[in-house]
């Protein structure tokens, strides 16, 4: 087993996959805590479906680099979704549901009507559930991912205190002069970037899991915002690393393996909390 692993690690594509996977896992877990607490858990889901629609369009136009369309479209949708959260005529969750199913339907429709690919079902399936594309990353894609991830992490660290204040009590933050609209906008943009990045790893149907599970698991274990954030990042990285290794060794699909591990970790954390509460430590 170890021998096989060492052998695999000598291939650059395996190393790329690990680097990219770990970075994506780290980024996606950071904002998870905020999204869960703000009751925006479904945003990841909605946005990833929008991204799916955008990918469909760029496939039809035969764009070699679909980031050009996918990233801006997702960012704009993220901003719109977070904005309408507050005082829209159609409430936040309904808007998300609406946009997400609509773009899913249009995406598949467009792909079906215009696609030139011989393996349409395979294409759709790999966009939805994550493909082996994480194992076929080019060096340019790896660098792009590294740059975006580092930007996300630096922004998060610099805005950590503001994000805390805005998440805990937006009204208070606003009344004491924080520019809450700006921070919400930045949060929206970061989410969009993370989602586009994470589509490579787990596919658009499973992205929410990557954002939500680490946050929920660590909220079972810790009681301070800082510890919850740190623990969530750590858990996410560990799950992604194990997931990628297992999927390489056992030949399972990358995305669903990672998500399954995340779910298992959540159950363990949940049980841990129950037991701890039960015997009253």
């Amino acid at each position: 087993m170890t021998g096989k692993l060492i052998l695999y690690l000598q291939y650059p594509f395996v190393r790329y996959a690990l680097i990219v996977g770990i970075l994506i896992a780290l980024c996606s877990s950071l904002l998870g805590v905020t999204l869960v607490l703000k009751r925006f858990s479904f945003i990841g889901d909605g946005l990833s479906h929008v991204a799916f629609g955008a990918i469909a369009i760029s496939t039809v136009f035969n764009l070699s680099d679909n980031m050009i369309i996918v990233l801006p479209v997702t960012i704009i949708s993220a901003i719109l979704l977070l904005r309408t959260g507050k005082n829209a005529k159609i409430k936040g969750d309904a808007t998300i549901a609406m946009i997400s199913v609509a773009s899913l339907a249009f995406g598949y429709l467009i792909m079906n009507v215009f696609s030139t690919s011989s393996n349409l079902t395979g294409d759709v399936c790999s966009t939805l559930f994550g493909s082996t594309s994480i194992l076929t990353l080019t060096i340019t894609e790896v660098w792009l991912c590294i740059i975006l991830s580092v930007t996300v992490i630096i922004t998060f660290v610099l805005l950590y205190n503001k994000i805390f204040a805005v998440t805990f009590d937006e009204n208070f933050a606003k009344s004491t002069g924080s520019n809450t609209d700006l921070y919400n906008l930045i949060i929206a943009v970061i989410i969009a970037i993370i989602i586009v990045l994470a589509m490579n790893l787990v596919g658009s149907l499973l992205i929410s899991a990557l954002i939500i599970f680490p946050a929920l698991s660590s909220m079972r274990l810790f009681r301070s915002f800082k510890m919850v954030t740190i623990c969530s990042a750590t858990l996410s990285v560990i799950c992604a690393f194990t997931g990628i290794i297992i999927s390489i060794l056992a030949g399972t699909p990358v995305g669903s393996t990672i998500v399954a591990i995340n779910a298992a970790v959540f159950i363990i954390c949940y049980l841990f909390e129950l037991i701890k509460g039960g015997i009253g430590i």
Binding site: K162, F164, A165, F168, N171, A173
Partner: protein, 234 residues
């Protein structure tokens, strides 16, 4: 010059006007209670004072060196906060956010201020506790300590005793009145008219009839007599 001067202020949602041509002032060391029926616009009024809502018309002027973002605010609790994983210290420190501006991290002064306010409200020993595991009264103290980090002059409290047991209610009133004696002006929304009357220096009554003036005048006024009778009878 008063801390706050409200001139001809009109408030409302969409096209419906809630309050029209409101005038009042809050001076240094005042203790103003806002009373009135449910739905008369009390919360809307303080949200406007805090810059969270825009008024339909009128002016809100500040004086005595008070800036609009230096008003401490104790909001009603939200659902999000009830299961928020954060320590007392993290929350109190977040009250310094307004002082930070674009500075990303808290400095020594901020931390010192947070520690001082924890001490002032007698919750220093709770500073590493998780907010969601505290009692209602303790949670209110935490939020009050946070509000104090944001201001030196004026506190706005939105029903600070809602949902508290009698002992915690009394403690809350004592704390607020202690802060008021330390020269911090108080604006408080209260449903508890008897306590409002016993602690406040001024009363603002909004609703069909508007009254603003000292507590003694309010008790003698027709608006006051009627409202007091109704509240006590209910």
């Amino acid at each position: 010059m008063a801390l706050l001067t409200i001139k001809n202020l009109s408030l409302g949602y969409n096209s419906k006007k809630l309050i029209e041509n409101l005038n009042f002032t809050v001076g240094k060391g005042d203790y103003l209670c806002i009373v009135g029926e449910n739905g008369s616009g009390k919360t809307t009024l303080i949200k406007t004072l805090l810059n969270l809502n825009t008024p339909v018309s009128g002016q809100i002027l500040t004086g005595e060196g008070l800036k609009r973002n230096e008003i401490g605010y104790l909001p009603q609790q939200t659902d999000i906060q009830r299961d928020f994983p954060a320590t007392v210290y993290e929350i109190v420190l977040s009250g310094c956010q307004g002082r930070c501006g674009f500075r990303p991290f808290y400095n020594k002064e901020d931390k010192h201020l947070a520690a001082k306010n924890l001490e002032l409200l007698g919750i220093s020993d709770l500073s590493n506790c998780c907010y969601r595991e505290l009692s209602g009264g303790q949670q209110q103290r935490v939020l009050l300590a946070r509000a104090l980090c944001a201001t030196k002059k004026l506190l706005i409290l939105d029903e600070p005793v809602a949902g508290l047991d009698p002992k915690a209610t009394e403690e809350m009133y004592n704390i607020v009145s202690k802060l008021n004696k330390n020269k911090i002006a108080i604006i408080m929304i209260s449903h508890d008219i008897d306590n409002a009357i016993s602690y406040a220096s001024h009363i603002l009554h909004i609703g069909n009839k508007v009254f603003f003036g000292s507590k003694d005048k309010y008790i003698k006024s027709n608006t006051g007599k009627l409202f007091l009778m109704k509240q006590r009878g209910a």
